[in-house]
Symmetry: C2
Subunit: 205 residues, 2 copies
Amino acid sequence: MTEKGPLAARAYHHGNLPEALAMAAEDLVRERGVHAFTLRECARRAGVAHSAPGHHFGDVTGLLTEVAARGFERLTQRMLTERADATGPAALSAIGRGYVGFALDDPAIFVLMFHSDRVDHGVERLRTAGLASYGVLRETVAAIEHAQDADPGTLDFAWSAIHGLAMLLIDEALPVHAAAPAGDRTAAAEATIARIVAAVTVHPR
Amino acid sequence: MTEKGPLAARAYHHGNLPEALAMAAEDLVRERGVHAFTLRECARRAGVAHSAPGHHFGDVTGLLTEVAARGFERLTQRMLTERADATGPAALSAIGRGYVGFALDDPAIFVLMFHSDRVDHGVERLRTAGLASYGVLRETVAAIEHAQDADPGTLDFAWSAIHGLAMLLIDEALPVHAAAPAGDRTAAAEATIARIVAAVTVHPR
DNA sequence: AGCGCGTCTGGACACTGTCAAGATTATTGT
DNA sequence: ACAATAATCTTGACAGTGTCCAGACGCGCT
């Protein structure tokens, strides 16, 4: 197999079609939303026949599940780079920033990853990718608590609050930041993250 | 117009078709999920021609938007009855319980209400219904703070945490309550709600 | 070399949303 | 009371979709 292409496309008739299809699918979801996603349009963009995707992903659900799994991998990376070598509460607010930032940069895919009946959340690949993201949070909270593993209750709380913040920021239709100057979402997000971190650190272990 | 039917169906050829269609749509979303929802199947269940829904709701988006608005109305009612005449922190945890309970009882519609590109979140009817639900939280928080209106920052925090908790409880695929005995979701929810309420009340106004 | 097998094509089928035109019923004006 | 008008619903059509199927193509292995 050729290990060098200009980018990753350009190898249709042979080469890595699955890769090209997954990328086209991501773009399509981003541009038109989860519901407007179409297998045939995806195949069209990849320059292959309308039934080609089926041979690699079986189903439209299969393809979107792959897209979701890739999303979790990117989310994990983003949280890690954001955290970098920060420690303690600073590390927690850093991954919160990464989490929210990802959601705001890629809202359609973020929603797809968590809540969509067009993906199969029971597939192993997706579950492990999601667990990896979860692991980053667990590590960070455990470090704050100076414990081997994080307290489940604290995890539920932190995970819920950060996830909810990301979700509500996505549909800016909701009045969460009605008071703040429109468009300045990151400021409101930053303040809320600070509260979450405070609630986590203050709590008795 | 006849103001008494056995229930609300049974009046097809004439009567309140919009009502019957909205109900059929709710059931359909519940049974098969948001994505599998189909205008034609909905019409079939209501016993009318496949294009009948279009005349009342215009679009498939129009019908699902109506379903979402009804969802918010039910959510508001549920929070109010759960709160009943409780006051202070108890009132906040009560509406949290109502919020999470609604999400767990009607997960598909809950997700539809907040995150679905099959509904038009800009429609006035839906926005006001959503604002009414939000208003219940605002009232309750304002009462806790002994203020005229609630602090925006506190609202963002509480709203985010409760919403995130509901969302994560819905897809039990996530390891939020992996430690807890499977199926016993309400216990984990109760504990997390307590933490949220504590964080809200403790915070300096 | 030949050959197998994974990869991809093209066609088919049932189903979908939306539109236009027609039929049927209710409501209203006089 | 009765005809006209508006609202409601049906029927038919069209382009587009997901999924299956048999077949063509070309790579890599022995």
